[in-house]
Subunit: 342 residues, 4 copies
């Protein structure tokens, strides 16, 4: 099988990462690469690491340029992907790396993003219970946010097993590429190097309702989420530290057993050996999630730490994993399980 | 007044920072600078930024070399400072930057550090209620750990005011100098650059009982502390994110008012204007603490973010602030309130 | 003496550094702080490290707001400073941190910057022969570019002593703040972290004629300069590596002697002990220049390495050093000789 | 064809990178992985990014453990590889990533490394004239040093074409992994982050004779090399800036043409489009070399800038490229041409 794939938003970080991975995918042929203000310039000017595509010209993002492909990746600002997606035929597999089709609740959409809710698509986090069934054969995929990818996988087994009470706190340390290639002063190298900062504190980050939606579905009861993102001086990677009060007596060994069982068949999730803690660089460029778990008896809490690459498993890798399922390909096709370190 | 100050452990990061600040202190004359394995070599070889002291030779750390000074700073591994301190006369002001004299409970000391408990000295966090009284005129100061400095100041006002329940979670993102100049593989530049990692998770970090001791004293009831340190790719800085369940209904404005009142007279603590969030680089090299507060209504939690320089306010700057109080000098003497940024 | 100083361009990196240093200057009172698009906003929003000035409001940059001061620092884009300076009275000491008044040759100005040449002011590199005489009592100072500061001091003694032929190559590795707070994609943290890149290669960088002007004056014969700047992932610092063919037989000891003699009376220049090589972090935040010299017998070249902080000695610190001379103050007043490391 | 490959020194950076690439090589089966002090521990403890090999135990490095493989990679300190290689049979393809077999001159070996010269093996830089012939079918490969890889490819076309005089200067900015996983104070994260430094200045770096050997062979006349390495705060990457005096009149277009012709058939070398300059992050994790060229008319010099990943093309990728040639496989087998950015 060869599927022809277009990537919209190819000059940005998410689009670039999609292309990097698609270049290594044995069943994919890369078709149109499109952009907004950079249309008309060669891709190599924006993504000099994508050597085999350096000479490709960026086209305008439109239903015309994206038409005629089997799969279309949309790496666009929220609002834009819904607009474009609505113009693409029902037989095209549309993979939305943006936020437009993640939330089930129109009220949540309204509160956090504003404007009309574009509807809800099958959610591209295959490791969640029931997700693979919804993704198989689908023509529309909502790729999760990078923070909810790490945080949901960190907490889902504990909530599903009733190990913890449904009141979770998450602090996630992220590399700067999560903010995109936006020309904002606080994202300048001079500002981020040598510095850590928090933002979207106190429930203000738009990934909060997505966390709650995922974790509530897993727990079967409403889960409250206190989420704090921290910007750290690194281009890639998310280190999620999550905790919740224990529901009853337990210890680290028992908690580890729950996680090992939950993820034993997962090709991209590694519960690390006892005594090893996740390091984001070990996942760099790979589709892996590395996890470790501890019970803090004194504090009465379960603590979970998870490392991912925000652009790979957290965005474009997760997207291709879901695409593989939708197309009936082996789920791991073309996806790296080896990181680039140091 | 000119006080003669010796610094033991002058080749390390804490000792170097003490010297950097003491060089700018108008009432201080720097006496002996001592080290262990580096004794006999010039200080400039280890601390090339301390230009006025570059030619000074490091002496052995001993009661002899440290004798004859008005003040002795001990920047030594735990255990060593208690041993040396025991040999210094009662008229010498001994400022211990290590852990030996921080914990009040011998059982805690035994559990977290092992060996004999050396006793408890006045605790060098002047912003805590009652601390200045204990520090005035003292001849022995236990300088707080870098994490407890940020986390205690982040949570104390809320616990003292009864805003939150005594169950706190703290995730603190630290620069690598907090781990000292230790030759460990995970501290190599190749390992830490581009990467974040957690350690001492699940209540395993030795600063946990110090947090609990401080916060319990402030709250008046036992406080449980879930503490997770994260190593980030930067030399200096700690960004503390702390949260706790609200004790009753409140909002961000009310919480901010509590913090502004608590810190209005503090020369080194800034509650930032609404909408501004702390950035560690803004505190670099200064003795400042920058704070911001939010109430997360959905999650029912208060969230506090604090930025410090782990080596300045978190170690050597806090030490000098306490020394000033002990000596009867104006508390801010010689301490920078301006950071070095970008 | 108290001089009232205004800073134009106070929201940028050069202006911020000037304010950081001026805050510690015992003879200075800070007057107006001005900006362009940020006028009307508090300084603390742009420079959160300048705590004592956090509440100051940025004014518009104009002859009115800058009037009534003893000294005016201009940290403005080239062209703008000449325009503003022309409106300031002859009794005001104007310190131009920009390029407008550095070049002596109108043809050079035309070629490298374009537009009218605004004239040539006394050049603020006091360590150059004859510079202090021109700066004493002057009311106009052209602050050198950051690259020419490091490179000129690295090569001047060798050229003055005839150690080398007048054909020099300079590669200077710079932190990102040298490029200012410009919103350009290649200056984003995601782009610069983990990466080195060259720019302005092949004689295309505007500092090239300034190098040639300085070195030709010192050598007494025309000096050709091959200059390559490299952007490295750090906020501050310039490491200059410079070399030139030996004019005759010599060795490292003889070359070191030339440098030690040239700089022995300089308060801010340190020729490091044999075997030590400059590290930019050792100069961070200080007005120091750290130098080392070697003769490569096989290649027949003298190699010099110099470290500075591009914002301090390379911009605002050098500016204040020259201001001190112009005002008749001790040259080192208010300027740090101790770096902030690690 | 499936070749069984052992890697000695598998706990270090060069060995880890070899394993990362070999895992993706379709004709390779990974056999023994060996180490010195880490023997007996699981590989995952040292290389957590090599997920498929995480459970493999490190064996002792010896002729026994390395026996029975088709190919043996030696990533060992100099001296050790010669010692082990001498014990491996003549039918085993031995790929030495260390220095032992690079230099042709025993006198050079003696001067720069000391001890007995182990002999000279075919040099693994296929892009050099005549190199592929010597590598085809060989059983012994000397992999080039990381600096000579970038610098030789940067200068060879110009020297071969007689564009420049044989007196070159090279300043190469390197990431820290080039120094290996050595526990030295100056390689600690706290020291390298935010800082640039030079080392091995004045012809003191051991790669200097290797440069001279390569470039002299290409030029046909003795080439003098002034080489200055600079350590920059990034884990990977080398940005080489090289220059030499022009031999006659030329311009940038003509020089570019020489380079484009020299490298037009090379699968891993890209002469960038005019106006684009190399950025190391674009080559991260790939076997690519990205180059740009300029003629500086004023200075009368050709300037070349080259970016590589020091661990990939600079070490393990170059090694596998040469292995492919030696084994008669297509040269590009298993080697990435797409970098991981940002």
């Amino acid at each position: 099988m060869t599927v022809k794939v277009a990537v919209a938003g190819a000059s940005g970080y998410a689009g670039g990462e999609a292309l990097r991975l698609l270049l290594a995918h044995p069943e994919v042929e890369i078709g149109a690469v499109t952009a907004a203000s950079s249309a008309g310039t060669p891709l190599g000017q924006h993504q000099p690491h994508l050597v085999p595509l350096a000479g490709r010209n960026l086209q305008e993002t439109s239903a015309e340029t994206l038409g005629g492909h089997d799969v279309v990746f949309l790496a666009l600002p929220h609002g834009h992907s819904a607009e474009i997606a609505a113009q693409l035929g029902p037989d095209v597999l549309v993979v939305d790396l943006g936020a437009d089709h993640r939330l089930a609740s129109a009220a949540d959409w309204q509160r956090w993003y504003g404007g009309d809710h574009a509807g809800t698509w099958p959610y591209g986090l295959p490791e969640l219970p029931g997700a693979r069934e919804k993704l198989a054969g689908t023509k529309r995929i909502a790729v999760p946010g990078c923070f909810p990818t790490g945080g949901t996988l960190a907490l889902a087994p504990a909530l599903a097993a009733g190990l913890v009470r449904p009141e979770v706190t998450i602090t996630a340390v992220t590399g700067t590429s999560g903010a995109g290639k936006s020309l904002k002063p606080h994202l300048l190298g001079s500002e981020v190097m040598g510095s850590a900062s928090a933002y979207g504190v106190g429930g203000a980050h738009r990934h909060t309702p997505e966390f709650a939606q995922n974790l509530t579905a897993v727990a079967g009861v409403p889960v409250t989420v206190s989420f704090t993102p921290v910007l750290a001086p690194m281009p890639r990677g998310i280190l999620t530290t999550a905790s919740a009060p224990l529901a009853g007596e337990t210890d680290t060994a028992a908690a580890r057993a729950v996680y090992e069982k939950a993820y034993q068949a997962e090709p991209f999730v590694q519960v690390l050996p006892e005594g090893s803690w996740p390091v984001t660089s070990a996942t760099l460029g790979s589709n892996n999630v590395q996890l470790q778990v501890a019970v803090d008896v004194d504090a009465g809490r379960l603590v979970v730490v998870a490392a991912i690459d925000n652009l790979t498993k957290g965005t474009a890798g997760g997207a291709i994993q879901s695409m593989n399922i939708a197309l009936g390909l082996p789920e791991t096709t073309g996806l790296p399980t080896v990181g680039v370190a140091p």
